[in-house]
Symmetry: C2
Subunit: 159 residues, 2 copies
């Protein structure tokens, strides 16, 4: 009786893609990406750029490192993304005079102005999804617990 979920290795039982929890997450992530794309196109943002902007609307005037910690991204990912946001006139990047190693990020007027239209996007995306608030928050709780458990395993395995 194969009954798994990213936990096989019962010898002799073959791997089945549909048993992989990681594959479910992978697909769900692609689905969100695909659904957000057309809505964000109107704002001139990609999906990761949108997440970065949401983080900045919440807490402005942070360093690249702080934003990276918030989003779970490396500077090697964030720096080019931020340069694109800067090129669009949404964010200003400037070395911190008190510590020239750091780059501080500040929203421009245009960056702040984008928040209003951006607020409508998530609801628009879920329109017609037939998911109650309870559904959404329950699923989110499950996934957050999963992420926490995985990260614990990660640090435990670290050598």
């Amino acid at each position: 009786m194969p009954k798994r979920s990213d936990t096989p290795s019962t010898p002799g039982v073959p791997l089945r893609l549909d048993d992989f929890l990681c594959f479910s997450v992978y697909r769900a992530n692609h689905t969100f990406n695909r659904l957000y794309r057309p809505l964000l196109e109107r704002l001139g943002l990609t999906y990761p750029q949108y997440l970065a902007m949401v983080a900045l609307w919440e807490v402005d005037d942070v360093t690249v490192g702080e934003l990276g910690a918030r989003l779970g991204l490396e500077s090697s990912t964030l720096t080019p993304l931020l340069k694109r946001l800067e090129a669009q006139g949404l964010v200003a990047r400037a070395r911190d005079p008190n510590d020239e190693r750091q780059v501080r990020l500040r929203l421009t007027q245009a960056g702040r102005a984008l928040e209003a239209p951006a607020c409508a996007v998530p609801a628009e995306m879920l329109a017609g999804a037939d998911l109650s608030l309870e559904d959404l928050s329950r699923i989110k709780g499950e996934i957050d617990r999963l992420k926490t458990a995985l990260e614990r395993a990660e640090t435990a395995a670290a050598g």
Copy 2:
């Protein structure tokens, strides 16, 4: 009282990243990727390559289009990935003589031989994660339902 989850747009209430279900999924996906990476490195595979191999171990001798449907990937993503697997000697790509538009994928001996060591990977990854089988399958069920609901919304919104 802001209580959301990818469903804000209550006017006047600002967006909060931690309310975004999509962000939870985005982070969880990155976490899986990061955890799998060192384990798959030993097999010489990336995470998407591993998923493709799992699909092929399950059903061999499929077309690029069929594998793409299984994984949810476009040919523009899959073709280069498959060329890398071919370069590693794990997969053979050949035009179908009955329909030269299609390319059929077949595991090589080496490709099939990789299944045995690959079987151990998922369990190894979850070692120390403190998640029961029930946890895993419950979470997986929730995410699969989410994906289904999102896809329904997608086709409903299609114009």
